[in-house]
C-alpha cells in the first residue's frame, strides 16, 4: 500500500478507492467501539475528568478515590477488554485485506479443548492483550486522527465551493485568516482548492496505510507463524537427513562391508596354503593385514554414520555398547519408562548426545568415572551424562556442545549444561517424546 502511494499511477489505480472504503468502514466500526471502550474504561475516564475539573476548582482527588477508580477500571479492562477486542480483531484482520495484500494470521495459539482451558489460554497469551491495545487505539486514537484528516478534506471542499458560497449569501465568509465577500474575490481560493484536490486521495492512502501498519503490528502473530513453519521444516530436514544416513549405513554394510569381510577371509585362506618363505607369502600377508585394517576403518566409518546396534536393538543396548567402548569407565542406568522404543530421530539424537558427551569426558574432563542415566518419564526422553572431572566446560570453546544443542533443538528438545570450574560436569538433554 505504501509502495503504491509512491507509484505514478496511484491516482488512477484502485488504491484510493480501496483506501476510502477502508476509512469509511473504520468510521462505521470505530463509533460503537469507542462507545464500548469508553464504558469499559469509564472509571479511568471519570478519574481523568475529576482530576482536570478538580484542578480548575482547586480541589484534588483523594487517595481512596484514586485507588478505587484505578482498580475498578483495571478489573473492567481485564475482564471485558478481551471479550470486546477479540471479535474486533478478527473483523479487522479480514478488513485489512482491502489495503494490504500480505496475508495476516492471528497470533492466538490453537485453543485447548474445554471452556475453562480456552479462557485460561486466551487470557494469558500476549496476542489477546495486543488486541486489547488495538481496541484502545481504535477507540481513542482513530477518532482524533480521522477527525483531523476529515477536517482537512472538508476545508479543501469549502475552498472549492467558496465562490458559490460567497455568491449565494451576501454575507462575508471566513476562509482561515482571509475573508471574502464576492465570488470574484473567492476565485483564487477555489483554484487553490482544486489544485489541492489531487492530494486528497494521497491523504486517504497515507491514513489507511498508517492505520493498516498499526493493525498489522498489533493483530498479527509477530512472525511466529513463519517461525513455526521454519522449525517444522527444520524437523523435516532432520528426519530426511536421518533417513539418508540410515540408507547409507545399510548400503555400506550390505555391500562394501560384507564383500570386504569375504575378501579378507579369502586372503586369510590363501595365506594358509602358501608355504612360509615363498615369494608370494610376504605380499599376501601384507595384503591380508591391510584388508583387516580396512575392515576396522570401514566398521568405524559405518558406526559413525549410523550405529547398526541402534537400529537393531534400540537406545539402551546401543548406549551400553558405547559405554563399553569408552576408555573412561562408565556406569549406565536405564530407568523405567523406556519399555517402548522412542521415535527413531529421538533415539538418534539421544545416542549422539551420549556419544559426544562421553567423547568430551575422555578428551577434556580428566575424569576417573562417568555416569549415564536414561529415562523416559512425563513425555520426555531424558539422557544425562555426568563425570567426576575438573569441570569448566565452555560451550563456546568448540567442544561440540553447540552442535549438540542444535541437534537437540531440532527435535524440539533442550540441552542443559552444568560445569562449574572444579567439576563435576553434567550434560542433560530433554527430548519431547511426541511432537
Amino acid at each position: 500500500m505504501l509502495g503504491s502511494l509512491r507509484r505514478r499511477g496511484f491516482l488512477l489505480s484502485a488504491w484510493p478507492w480501496r483506501s476510502l472504503a477502508y476509512l469509511a468502514g473504520t468510521a462505521v466500526i470505530a463509533t460503537p467501539v469507542s462507545i464500548a471502550m469508553a464504558c469499559v474504561t469509564l472509571p479511568w475516564l471519570a478519574l481523568l475528568g475529576w482530576a482536570v475539573s478538580g484542578h480548575e476548582r482547586g480541589t484534588s482527588v483523594t487517595v481512596p478515590e484514586l485507588v478505587a477508580a484505578v482498580l475498578v477500571g483495571a478489573v473492567l479492562v481485564t475482564t471485558l477488554g478481551p471479550a470486546l477486542a477479540m471479535p474486533l480483531a478478527a473483523l479487522e484482520r479480514r478488513r485489512l485485506a482491502l489495503i494490504d495484500a500480505r496475508p495476516i494470521s492471528s497470533g492466538h495459539r490453537p485453543p485447548p479443548p474445554g471452556l475453562a482451558a480456552w479462557l485460561r489460554a486466551r487470557y494469558t497469551e500476549p496476542a489477546t492483550w495486543r488486541e486489547v491495545a488495538y481496541a484502545a487505539f481504535m477507540a481513542f486514537v482513530v477518532p482524533v486522527g480521522y477527525g483531523i484528516a476529515a477536517l482537512a478534506v472538508f476545508l479543501d471542499l469549502v475552498l472549492i465551493a467558496s465562490p458559490w458560497l460567497a455568491g449565494d449569501s451576501a454575507n462575508e465568509i471566513s476562509l482561515g485568516p482571509a475573508r471574502v465577500i464576492t465570488a470574484g474575490q473567492a476565485a483564487p481560493y477555489a483554484i487553490a482548492g482544486v489544485v489541492l484536490l489531487p492530494l486528497v486521495p494521497y491523504l486517504f492512502g497515507l491514513l489507511a496505510s498508517a492505520h493498516g501498519a498499526v493493525a498489522r503490528a498489533l493483530l498479527g502473530d509477530a512472525g511466529h507463524a513463519a517461525l513455526r513453519e521454519v522449525s517444522r521444516s527444520r524437523a523435516r530436514l532432520v528426519d530426511a537427513f536421518e533417513a539418508e544416513r540410515r540408507r547409507i549405513e545399510r548400503d555400506l554394510h550390505d555391500g562394501a562391508q560384507h564383500r570386504l569381510t569375504s575378501l579378507t577371509l579369502q586372503l586369510g585362506m590363501a595365506r594358509l596354503d602358501l608355504p612360509e618363505g615363498s615369494a608370494a607369502a610376504g605380499p599376501l600377508a601384507t595384503a591380508h593385514d591391510q584388508a583387516k585394517e580396512l575392515m576396522v576403518v570401514l566398521r568405524d566409518l559405518i558406526h559413525g554414520i549410523h550405529p547398526q546396534v541402534l537400529s537393531d536393538l534400540g537406545l539402551p543396548a546401543a548406549i551400553r555398547e558405547l559405554t563399553g567402548r569408552s576408555p573412561v569407565p562408565v556406569t549406565l542406568t536405564v530407568q523405567s519408562g523406556l519399555d517402548q522404543r522412542p521415535p527413531e530421530r529421538l533415539e538418534s539424537v539421544a545416542y549422539f548426545v551420549v556419544s559426544e558427551a562421553l567423547t568430551n569426558v575422555t578428551r577434556h574432563a580428566g575424569a576417573a568415572h562417568a555416569q549415564v542415566d536414561l529415562s523416559g518419564t512425563g513425555g520426555l526422553l531424558v539422557v544425562e551424562v555426568r563425570d567426576d572431572g575438573h569441570g569448566g566446560a565452555d560451550p563456546d570453546a568448540g567442544s561440540g556442545l553447540t552442535g549438540l544443542a542444535d541437534r537437540v533443538a531440532a527435535v524440539g528438545g533442550r540441552l542443559l549444561l552444568a560445569s562449574p570450574t572444579g567439576g563435576p560436569t553434567l550434560v542433560r538433554a530433554e527430548l519431547p517424546w511426541n511432537r
Binding site: 550390505d254 560384507h258 564383500r259 569381510t261 569375504s262 579378507t264 577371509l265 579369502q266 586372503l267 586369510g268 585362506m269 595365506r271 594358509l272 591380508h288 584388508a291 583387516k292 575392515m295 576396522v296 566398521r299 550405529p307 547398526q308 546396534v309 537393531d312 536393538l313 543396548a317 551400553r320 555398547e321 563399553g324 567402548r325 569407565p329 562408565v330 556406569t331 568415572h369
Partner: protein, 216 residues
C-alpha cells in the same frame, strides 16, 4: 568328522566360511541364510556344531542368537558358536546361560578373517570348551565395580585367557610362566570369585560366567 550347520545371510561370506570349514576338515551339512532354515537343518540331520550369525533376516536383530539358544535347549551337547556384529553382553550371557555354559562360543564377526584362530576357537567349542571374544573380555575387565576388581593384574590376564578357551598349558606358554604357576593363579581366581572347590572341571566355565552375569 565334525558335522557343521552354517547360518549366515550374506551369500559371499557364507560360501567363504563353508570353504574354510571344508578346508580344515569339517563337514558342512547345511549352509543356510536365516534362523528358520537353521532350526530346520539341525532338526533334520545329525549336527555337532552350529556356526551362526546373530543378525539375520527377517528382523535383522538377534534371530540367530534366539535360534542358537533354542537349539541348545532342544539338543543338549550341541556345540554353538555365534558371530556378532557388535558386542552385547546380553548376547554373551544368554548364550553362556544355555547348556551350562559348555561348548559355546561368542565371537565378533570380524574374527573369522583370522582363519587359523577362528578354526582353533571352533575346535575348542566342539571339545566342550567356552570361547568369549577377547574384546568382550577386555571391556568387561575394565568395567567399574566389577567383581573382578579384587583380582591382580596377572590373575585378570589368566582369566581372560581362560575365557578365550585356552588350556593351562597354552596359557603358560603365552605368559612365559610354568604351568604350575597358571594352576596357582586359576586357583586364586576361583577362590576370589567364590566358586566352591568341587571335582567338576566345569569350574573354569563358572569363573567366566561369574563375571559375565555380574556385569550384565
Amino acid at each position: 568328522m565334525t558335522r557343521v550347520v552354517l547360518a549366515e545371510d550374506g551369500v559371499l561370506l557364507r560360501e567363504g566360511l563353508a570353504g574354510v570349514l571344508a578346508r580344515f576338515g569339517f563337514e558342512v551339512v547345511a549352509a543356510v541364510g536365516d534362523a528358520g532354515a537353521l532350526i530346520d537343518a539341525v532338526r533334520t540331520g545329525e549336527t555337532d556344531l552350529v556356526v551362526t550369525d546373530i543378525r539375520m533376516p527377517p528382523g535383522f536383530s538377534d534371530e540367530g542368537l534366539r535360534a542358537a539358544v533354542e537349539l541348545r535347549d532342544r539338543h543338549p551337547g550341541l556345540a554353538v558358536v555365534v558371530l556378532s556384529q557388535y558386542i552385547q553382553y546380553e548376547y554373551a550371557s544368554a548364550l553362556l546361560d544355555s547348556g551350562g555354559g559348555r561348548s559355546v562360543g561368542y565371537l565378533l564377526k570380524d574374527r573369522v578373517v583370522d582363519v587359523a584362530d577362528f578354526v582353533t576357537a571352533l575346535r575348542t567349542v566342539v571339545g566342550g570348551g567356552t570361547v568369549v571374544d577377547h574384546e568382550v573380555v577386555r571391556q568387561l575387565l575394565r568395567r567399574p565395580r566389577d567383581p573382578l576388581a579384587t583380582l591382580s593384574a596377572r590373575e585378570r590376564e589368566v582369566l581372560a585367557l581362560v575365557a578365550e578357551g585356552h588350556s593351562n598349558a597354552a596359557i603358560a606358554r603365552r605368559l612365559f610362566v610354568t604351568e604350575a604357576a597358571v594352576v596357582k593363579h586359576v586357583g586364586n581366581i576361583l577362590a576370589k570369585l567364590g566358586i566352591p572347590p568341587t571335582e567338576d572341571a566345569n569350574r573354569r566355565v563358572l569363573a567366566v560366567l561369574a563375571y559375565l552375569r555380574a556385569t550384565v
